[in-house]
Amino acid sequence: MSDPATLSAVCILASLVLYALFGGADFGGGVWDLLARGPGAGDRRRLIAGAIGPVWETNHIWLIVAIVTLFTAFPGAFAVLCTDLFVPLTVVLAGIVLRGAAFAFHAYRLHEERGAGRWGAVFASASLVTPVFLGIVFGAISSGRIRAAGPLAFTGDVGVWLSPFPVSVGFLALASFAYLAAVYLLLETNDPGLREGFRRDSFRSAAALVFLCVLTLGLAAVDARDFFRSLTGGFWSIPLAAAEIAAAAGAIASLALRRYPLARAFAAAQVSLLLIGWGLAQYPYLVRPDITVFSAAASPRTLRFLLGALAAGAALLFPAIFFLLRVFKWEAISGSPRRP
């Protein structure tokens, strides 16, 4: 566990968990913006935009950290992923650009447009598509279909990513992000109507998440067999599954009892455990079945410098991020949101 290649992979996974918990929830906010209907829709959209506004750019950077760590520590794996998953990654990029730019334009004009308008629609649709394709990428690298034994080549086979298991991981990512957003948004408002709406959405997305977890597991058994064996055969498999089920049950119970800060902690644990489980099952592979963290690792000196830079960066950044959250999310963190 303490060799530099594994540690670098752990750093990537940690960035991805943080990206899911923070950046993912921002995408989820866009999904609820898209689904907002009826008389309260304008208020919901304004609440979502206000919650995302100060933090989304910071949250987005976790993805950049994951990518630069990947291409510095495992350059060969990055090259293979970028070649075989050219199409879904390009869709993800388009989604990231459209979501981010549209949100910035939208926030810029929010006062006049009352939360609606063209940019809002682009922001919301991009928030729906991007997580699905991001999830597909993760499903594809676990499915065992990307072959990288020989020199870099492009097969042009869409089946590499467009098959049942990766697609189901895509929807699992979407459901996770929407679920996190709904649970977080409960704490961003005191308005009883808005709260009840997000509570309903939390239950709905929790149900979707549970359903997709079971479906994805089932599909893995037929469509990603090595990954499935690894996921179910580890010494950690049963404790992890138990923790996942406990977190899900805890989240639903807290939502039912209207204990929202607790629900948020359980929901975040639930999504983190999903990703950690994926990481454990994937290890030591980066891209199943041909590339492992050891076969793709850069030189030990590069890895040591990279880990040093990540540690120093984290030491400087975590206080800054805490300060950012302290300034803008304190009411939400402490569970006593401001009146709108």
Binding site: G53, P54, V55, E57, T58, H60, I61, L63, I64, V65, I67, V68, F71, T72, A73, F74, P75, G76, F78, A79, V80, L81, C82, T83, F86, L89, T90, V92, L93, A94, I96, V97, L98, R99, G100, A101, A104, F105, A107, Y108, R109, L152, F154, A298, S299, R301, T302, F305, L306, A309, L310, G313, L316, L317, A320, I321, F323, L324, V327, F328
Partner: protein, 448 residues
């Protein structure tokens, strides 16, 4: 177009777009911090309004810069996977450091933009300073990676694979210092003059408005200092290139034959077929003097190198001429501004001078694009000079016309939308007079 040409065209388009926003991300925070500092020092509301409005503009530019930068970090692998497979482990470190600098920029920009009423004025100003520092550092880290492509260091080659890698030596390669200084100054000059140009246009209509007067002064201060220093940095760069990348120097000067006492060519069109540069104004011995500080120094021409290692001298030479001409114009304009302020401050707002500033507004950005073109096209046919050819780095994926067309249209829309949003903001110019009781203006407020 071949797939290689399409990959290069797409990368060039993505960079040409991103670099404008990256430059704004480096320069704009400095302007807004100076304005806010003015407010803390004098208490005059015009500075606070200026800081607010510049910050609001920065928020849009920064967001587009952030997402277009994300695109680039993926496209490095999507379009050039073999380059990344080779270079990632060598030159990935500055990208990781850039990620953290960028993090700092985003965190403190969030606090700056949305925190006017939530943190103390000092803390707010400090956040602005950290935005500026983060922006400048992230620019510097990324440029060291480009410097490494021009001047690879920090590894040895064994069977086409980098061994004995030293990421620190790669990051601190010989070209890093000259390139990062040149780019940082360019960012300040370009954003300073772009902002000065906009406010000069508005001042021509609304000459007494203190808002635009202060804006012009601050923008000219930042842009002007950078523009005056830039020719010095350019000289360092040119001399470095002359020693380190002689074939690039030959291309950017349109020098085909090796000669002592080579002339400096102003303008002119290099013609590869006849191996001459036509229609140039030639300053005798000028190139030898500038590149080696010796009028009789020997300058290698393109002919001294194998034909398949030449960059195309036509676009390289033309882009270089544009950059040098524009940079010179900005330096002279800055000196003129300094002279006018020394004589009488009011002369800065003279209609003719304002017209000159307005015309020079886009020149800095044009120079940035031209300069980027010089360094990239001048390195061809290599992606890593002497190590890997661009053609060998490209993706095996075909059908690149589709993503190229898609991202071109997408970026065109984003560019138009950003300009349109900023235009509205600029057009609604608030009025301030010189008195302490400034006329009330529709304060835009923070974006909550």
């Amino acid at each position: 177009m071949t797939e290689l040409a399409l990959a290069r065209a797409q990368m060039a388009m993505l960079f040409a777009f991103h670099i404008l926003f990256a430059v704004a991300g480096m320069g704009m925070p400095v302007l807004m911090v100076i304005a806010e500092r003015g407010h803390l020092r004098t208490g005059h509301p015009v500075y606070a309004e200026l800081a607010r409005r510049w910050a609001k503009g920065t928020s849009v530019l920064f967001a587009v810069g952030a997402v277009s930068g994300t695109v680039l970090s993926f496209e490095l692998g999507l379009l050039w996977p073999r380059f990344m497979a080779f270079a990632g482990g060598v030159i990935g470190l500055p990208f990781a450091l850039e990620g953290f600098a960028f993090f700092a920029e985003a965190i403190f920009l969030g606090i700056y933009l949305y925190g006017w009423d939530r943190v103390s004025p000092r803390l707010h100003l400090a956040s602005g300073v950290l935005v500026a520092v983060g922006g400048i550092l992230s620019g510097i880290f990324v440029v060291t990676a480009n410097a490494w492509m021009n001047s690879p260091a920090g590894f040895a080659l064994a069977d086409g694979v980098p061994v004995d890698v030293s990421p620190l030596a790669a990051m601190c390669n010989p070209a890093s210092l000259t390139e990062t200084i040149h780019m940082t100054l360019a960012a300040f000059a370009a954003s300073g003059f772009a902002v000065a140009g906009i406010h000069a246009i508005l001042l021509r209509r609304d000459r007494e408005n203190l808002f635009h007067r202060k804006a012009l002064e601050i923008a000219l201060l930042v842009g002007g200092i950078a523009a005056v220093l830039q020719p010095l940095s350019g000289d360092f760069n040119a001399r470095f290139v002359a020693r380190n990348q002689p074939v690039k120097l030959a291309a950017l000067e349109g020098q085909f034959e090796t000669e002592r006492g080579a002339p400096l060519r102003i303008g002119g069109i290099p013609d590869v077929a006849s191996r001459t540069t036509r229609y140039a104004i030639e300053v005798p011995k000028g190139l030898s003097l500038l590149a080696f500080h010796d009028p009789d120094a020997r300058v290698q021409g393109l002919s001294a190198f194998p034909r398949d290692e030449w960059p195309d001298p036509l676009p390289v030479h033309l882009a270089f001429q544009v950059m040098v001409a524009g940079g010179t114009a900005l330096a002279f304009l800055s000196l003129a501004a300094a002279w006018r302020i020394r004589k009488k401050r009011e002369r800065l707002f003279d209609r003719r001078f304002l017209a000159a500033v307005a015309i020079c507004g886009p020149v800095g950005l044009l120079c940035v694009e031209a300069g980027w073109g010089v360094t990239e096209m001048g390195r061809q046919p290599w992606v890593i000079r002497g190590v890997m050819r661009t053609a060998d780095a490209a993706t095996p994926v075909g059908g690149l016309l589709l993503p190229f067309a898609f991202f071109s249209i997408l970026y065109l829309c984003l560019g138009v939308a950003s300009v349109w949003l900023l235009r509205r903001e600029v057009a609604a110019s608030p009025f301030f007079s010189d008195g302490a009781d400034a006329a009330p203006s529709p304060v835009s407020g923070e974006m909550e």
